[in-house]
């Protein structure tokens, strides 16, 4: 199955052979390539690092950063930190979930958006905060969310044309 992995990923995995603390950074690098950690990568890592796949899945499911399935084009992270909660972060998450028709952790059927909740982004002064892709948006309101979703959808539409 490892045939489906691209050469960069294969090289990264081979380079980590026998490095005792390499596993988590390696998985982070693999995720940086694919947006998630494909099962083919897990199999190859297990072989190269001489560990059981179950150990790798143990790590993948323990840390919230890792995904086992493909992500949407834009990942929307909604901050659920204390300050954001007090300023209405939960309503923002509920609204987004409703509007996109997906729950947290899921991806829209068109592959546009994935929805995530994060514990705290450390931007409490601008609460409530959401992150779309790598862009931070502070002092969010439900109106602002509508505008943002439209903005990203039209950005995508333009690119497709």
């Amino acid at each position: 199955m490892a045939a489906r992995l691209n050469p960069t990923a294969k090289k990264l995995i081979r380079q980590s052979r026998n490095k005792k603390d390499a596993l988590i950074p390696l998985l982070q690098d693999i995720q940086a390539i694919y947006g998630y950690v494909p099962s083919e990568a897990v199999d190859l890592i297990a072989k190269e690092l001489s560990i059981f796949p179950v150990e790798i899945y143990g790590i993948l499911t323990f840390y919230t950063q890792f995904y086992l399935t493909a992500r949407g084009r834009y990942t929307i992270k909604v901050c659920q930190g204390t300050a954001c909660h007090v300023m209405g972060g939960k309503e923002i998450l509920d609204y987004l979930s409703d509007k996109l028709g997906i729950r947290k952790g899921e991806t829209t059927p068109d592959g546009m958006f994935s929805l995530e909740r994060v514990a705290c982004l450390g931007c409490c002064g601008m609460a409530p905060v959401i992150v779309v892709g790598s862009d931070f948006y502070g002092r969010c309101s439900i109106q602002k969310i509508d505008e943002l979703l439209d903005k990203y959808r039209s950005k995508r539409a333009k690119k497709v044309k």
Partner: protein, 589 residues
């Protein structure tokens, strides 16, 4: 260059559009042929959010601060301030800005917002690495003594004496027959929701933490260090990588530092999103490439830590204090603060307070002084102060009568909260305390590693009960259950996460019991937060017919005409609470 232009560009600044402001300054200066005379310095966040803060320092006018600078304002500022020599009055920082910085004693944050964090020369021009140069005239034992005398305590939460920790690690021996190796770890896994001082230090003054690590390495006899930083802080990681490579080039890191026999180098480890990894033993497991699951202590990491070797773990803010103590002396440091807690503490002030941001005050300052001094009081005067949450998910909610509690480790612990990493979230009448307790428990249940039963199962049961109460299914006996279960978990959980997780519930039960009673007996949430208890009806005695709710509703479910009471059409309502949050009179319940 005689003219300096400082632009605040931390994560918060950038998200508010500081990059465009900086670009405009650069192009405007070029166009007006001023580029040779001015230096544009992109600093970290200064601690106050005023999208965007710009300081201009000229020999004629001195230092003038502008706030809320938009990209479109730049041309005007350059024209008036730099060419005509007249400050732009409308944009000058006002009273709030002054109030925010008065009453603070900025030691750890002294460079944040003042220097270019990506330029090592700017740091050395501000006394940087001078403490490192000084240590080679001292023995490690003298240095440990100095840190002990200063009274510095760990700023990560537990408040253990830093000097003592260093001494334990210095004296610890490696297991027989193995190499004599020790490690220093900088804990930058700032997971407490509501705390962001470590991020600001790493973004605004990363060299200060690195210098602290090198000094700690010298004192404990370690030659290798790790910075364990959350992956959620991409800018901090980027700056750390740069900082370390710059320090290596200048000979502050690497083999035989500054010509001495001492060698020290630092690796960066990115966290992968697990709150429990802020706990020392879990952090070590994570660096070793395992699931971040805590181990029972003892043995403490200072004796048996990373790869089984003695390991010193200090928090970012603690390490950033070190260079100041070495430079100015233990006596100077211990003259600041209260009797038992020395120095300053950085608080992340957020929530319903007027000025939100990072505030550094001497230990012993009261909570009231902090909120009504730098904080500028409540954002919405009408809603009034209700409580303040200190210490994140491990801390507690304190009520108004505790506002005069001095901020030091002992006094805060006495209230049932803990100092934690210094998150401080202010809450007003629109915050439901039962919901707050549920919120924190929801967080700790999600983040529990699952190893020990009290934390894994006990917290879950407590959360279910709180969900019942906020959902309108509360029973009288729930209060006793929460009290008993909370106390038991505190006594029996394995690590700091579980030991402190019931604090938010226990403190709200103690200081806000009337709200629990209202939820259970009257089936009412007086703060209009808990969805299960809301009716989405307009109360005519409070409604002033202003129509704000009508404008706020995203689905057009509010019927309103001028001079008429608003009415909510329940068939259309999606219960998003936009109207409730928008209403200035709390007229919708």
């Amino acid at each position: 260059m005689d003219i300096k232009i400082l632009i605040c560009m931390g994560t918060s600044g950038i998200s508010a559009g500081a990059e465009e402001v900086a670009r405009n300054f650069e192009s405007e200066l070029k166009q007006r042929k001023l580029a040779g005379k001015c230096r544009v310095i992109k600093t970290g966040d200064r601690g106050l959010f005023r999208d965007t803060l710009v300081d201009i320092i000229t020999p004629e006018l001195g230092r003038i601060t502008y706030e809320y600078v938009k990209p479109g304002d730049v041309a005007g500022i350059v024209e008036k301030h730099l060419l005509e020599g007249k400050p732009v009055k409308e944009l000058q920082a006002g009273e709030d800005y002054k109030q925010f910085f008065s009453g603070q004693n900025r030691i750890v944050l002294s460079n944040c917002g003042e220097i270019d964090p990506e330029d090592i020369d700017d740091y050395t021009a501000h006394n940087g690495y001078n403490a490192l140069k000084k240590i080679f005239n001292m023995t490690p034992e003298d240095m440990i003594e100095e840190i002990k005398k200063s009274g510095l305590k760990g700023r990560g939460g537990a408040g253990f004496l830093t000097g003592l920790k260093w001494e334990f690690c210095r004296k610890a021996r490696c297991p027989q027959g193995t190499d004599d190796v020790k490690y220093v770890i900088c804990n930058a896994d700032e997971g407490d929701p509501g705390a962001f001082m470590d991020r600001s230090i790493l973004e605004g003054d990363p060299h200060s933490a690195i210098e602290g690590m090198i000094i700690a390495g010298y004192a404990t006899g370690a030659n290798e260090g790790y910075v364990y930083c959350r992956a959620e802080y991409p800018l901090a990681i980027k700056r750390l990588i740069r900082t370390i490579s710059q320090a290596r080039k200048k000979g502050f890191l690497g083999k035989s530092i500054l010509g001495s026999s001492f060698s020290f180098d630092i690796n960066i480890k990115q966290g992968a999103g697990a709150f429990v990894c802020g706990e020392e033993t879990a952090l070590i497991a994570s660096i070793e490439g395992h699931r971040g699951i805590p181990m029972p202590r003892p043995p403490f990491p200072a004796q048996k830590g990373l790869w089984g070797k003695p390991t010193l773990i200090n928090n970012v803010e603690t390490l950033a204090n070190v260079r100041h103590i070495i430079l100015k002396g233990a006596q100077w440091f211990s003259s600041i603060g209260s009797e038992k807690s020395k120095g300053t503490k950085v608080f992340a002030l957020a929530g319903k307070v007027k000025n939100t941001g990072l505030v550094e005050v001497p230990m012993g300052t009261t909570i009231r002084q902090l909120i009504y001094g730098p904080g500028g009081g409540m954002a919405d005067k009408k809603a009034g102060f209700k409580g303040v949450q200190i210490g994140g998910p491990s801390g507690g909610c304190l009520s108004e009568e505790l506002l005069d509690t001095p901020i030091d480790y002992e006094s805060i612990t006495g209230t049932g909260a803990i100092m934690g990493s210094g998150g401080m979230v202010v809450m007003d009448a629109r915050t439901c305390m039962v919901d707050m307790a549920r919120f924190f428990l929801d967080f700790t249940v999600t983040e529990s590693c699952g190893k020990c039963v009290p934390c894994r199962v006990g917290l879950k049961r407590m959360l279910e009960v709180l969900e019942d109460i906020t959902g309108g299914r509360g029973k009288e006996e729930h209060i006793d259950f929460l009290q008993e279960m909370g106390t038991n978990i505190k006594d029996t959980a394995l690590c700091g996460l579980g030991n402190t997780a019931p604090n938010p519930v226990l403190t709200t039960l103690r200081y806000f019991s009337d709200e629990y009673q209202a939820h259970i007996k009257d089936r009412a949430c007086t703060s209009h937060v808990c969805l299960g208890l809301l009716k989405f009806e307009v109360m005519k005695d409070k409604c002033v017919k202003c129509g704000i709710c009508y404008k706020a509703c995203p689905v057009g479910a509010v019927d309103w005409k001028k001079k008429e009471y608003a009415k909510i059409n329940k068939d259309k309502c999606i219960q998003c609470k936009a109207c409730i949050n928008a209403c200035p009179f709390m007229a919708i319940e």
